[in-house]
């Protein structure tokens, strides 16, 4: 049985991405008892799937490492992975959160030596790479995974392969008898840092994401750049593995659109500007990028970044929402059709690869939430007194970039700390 101590002075943080980790750490570093719940087998969330951050073009692994170290140093923080909230009840200062823990089948004796994975053969779609590559049924989810323990896929349980993996382990770390557990945890305040998911590009029918191999999304593009990614860090397009030297970015793919997401997802302009840098990084002056946009939203200090990209002769900007994408059958090149707003010229432009700058939608549908909270039309949690001791952190509250998500998470931590302080009578 998993042994977790929780009282009504505990803060529970749901979601172990950058916002959840930040909220949990900020709260626990004030001396509070915090439990961090994460659905995936590792912390880091979607940020861990990014190649680089804007505007500094640094690697997210760096900040990830700092946060992992902070977690290890804090005795008051309990991290539960493969944990999902099944129910929540109660009121401010007195919540009960029911948590379902699905088994990893690997305990903390694991040294991540990888012998178990060598004994396994069956492959599954790799979620970490947005299903673009394969991983084994016994696997380390990613190089930076925290906790640094292997995972055995539920679908292998009961097979000879799972037994072989167990036999290969020299540390007695594999326990194939682990069962699903349910925990009822007490909490004074709960922070939802449940984040986002990319808008489903299949719903944007005219762009042909479902039909054309060389139309991908911005999150998939990030994975292509990762040395551990499906292409080993090469910018190769999916249809024929050709180098993608002429890349088109379609902005507002599903955002600012009554037919899709009504809100502006805020990060996609900067993400595409950042990704033009990737094309330069790989191909130098042979790499060309074209951004099709309604208007570029690079706010505040990001404008410097935008101007730098504008000064790059290898990047062109076309002010136009692309009407439709077709495929040139012979070359497999996507062809973009539309009308340019600056001059009203009709175009039909061929590119090697099209990247849809898909927007953010909340990963959790809060509409059927078991306790009353304020949710706006876009599905994000609104800050409201009637939410009691329940707070949103990061993208659960709105479409935010990492910088703003972290700021927001710190604020959420302080709000939660105030609630448990009142419970304690401090």
């Amino acid at each position: 049985m998993t042994d977790v101590v929780a009282t009504n002075q505990t803060i529970i943080v749901v979601g172990g991405g950058i916002s959840g980790m930040t909220a949990a750490l900020e709260a626990t570093e004030t001396g509070k008892q915090v439990i961090l719940l994460e659905k995936r087998p590792y912390l880091g969330g979607r940020v861990s799937q990014l190649y680089k951050y804007f505007p500094k073009m640094c690697h997210p692994t760096c900040g990830q490492e700092i946060n992992q170290r902070r977690i290890k140093m804090n005795q008051n923080l309990t991290v539960l992975t493969q944990a999902e909230v099944a129910n929540i009840s109660g009121n401010t200062g007195d919540y009960t959160v029911s948590v379902t823990l699905t088994p990893r089948y690997v305990n903390n004796h694991c040294t991540a030596c990888g012998e178990c994975a060598k004994a396994a053969t069956t492959e599954f779609d790799d979620e970490f790479n947005y299903n673009m590559g394969k991983r084994k049924g016994v696997y380390l989810p990613n190089a930076m995974a925290f906790p640094q323990h292997y995972v055995i896929d539920q679908r292998l349980i009961g097979t000879a392969e799972a037994d072989a993996a167990k036999a290969a382990c020299k540390y007695g770390a594999i326990d194939l008898d682990q069962q699903v557990e349910t925990l009822d945890l007490k909490a004074g305040a709960v922070i939802f840092a449940t984040g986002w998911k990319p808008y489903d590009a299949n719903k944007i029918q005219p762009y042909g994401y479902d039909r054309f191999a060389n139309v991908i999304t911005n999150v998939e593009f990030e994975r292509l750049m990762d040395p551990h990614g499906p292409t080993g860090g090469k910018l190769l397009r999916p249809s024929d593995g050709k180098e993608a030297k002429n890349v088109a970015f379609i902005q507002c793919a599903g955002s600012r659109d009554k037919n899709h997401l009504a809100h502006c997802s805020r990060i996609c302009c900067m993400a595409s500007l950042k990704q033009t840098n990737y094309v330069q990084e790989k191909f130098g002056d042979d790499g060309k990028s074209t951004i099709y946009y309604i208007d570029m939203r690079a706010i505040d200090r990001f404008d410097d970044f935008y101007q730098k990209v504008q000064d790059n002769p290898n990047v062109s900007f076309i002010k136009s929402k692309v009407a439709k994408v077709e495929e040139d059958k012979a070359s497999g090149n996507p062809v973009l059709h539309g009308v340019d707003t600056e001059g009203y010229k009709r175009y039909a432009n061929q590119h090697d690869l099209v990247v849809l700058a898909t927007g953010m939608e909340p990963s959790v549908d809060f509409k059927g939430f078991p306790v009353k909270i304020m949710v706006n039309d876009e599905g994000f949690i609104e800050q409201d007194d009637s939410n009691g001791g329940i707070f949103a952190a990061g993208v659960a509250s709105d479409a935010l970039d990492v910088n703003r998500a972290v700021q927001h998470a710190t604020a959420a931590a302080l709000r939660a700390v105030q609630v448990v302080n009142q419970v304690a009578g401090a």
């Binding site: 600012r256 309604i294 929402k321 692309v322 059709h337 009308v339 009203y344």
Partner: protein
Amino acid sequence: MTTAVNQAMVEKYKGNFLKEVTDNVEEGSWVKMCMQCGVCSGSCPLGPHWDHPPQELFMMIRANKREEVLSSTSMWMCTSCYNCVARCPRGLPITHIMHGLAHYSKRMGMKPKHQPTEQFGQMFWDNLTKKGRVNELKLGLGLYFKDGFAEGVKVSMGKQKLGLNMMKAKRMSPMEMLGGHGVKDLSGFHAMLKKAEELEAARVGENTDAK
């Protein structure tokens, strides 16, 4: 040939064409909602044949290009496929605005000359209002002969087989040539149209009165 009401509108709105469109064109109040993304223009199947795609028309309205907009052939090219309406990220009823603009340009006497859609529209209206029912035989023949007698005979001969088949299938009667069928209460129908015209004239008058 511009109309008196056109002069009155020019007087009243004095260089604020967007306001004029907002006030007087059907669904015209949506024009200011356009964010110039251009997805309508790119999605229009007739797009390459327009002088100005919808997005450009909307910008021209805002830029006060009254003359160019109202005498344009563009809005007459709309076939009501609704592709633009389906894709517009802001939900503008673009098809309806196009028809509204076409109607308004006609009312202002600024419609383009020899525009077939406009000619057919007028023909359809005259045909329909005569008896309250469309006389398809007369309407069809009228369309064939609109470019002169010789052209009419040529088109009619070409469509001979279609006409005979329609008669066989009882979809068209040659007797329609003699008067044709109509609504039961024809005078009531005409009275209704007259009243509607009066109301419309009053509405326009109200809008053109200097206040």
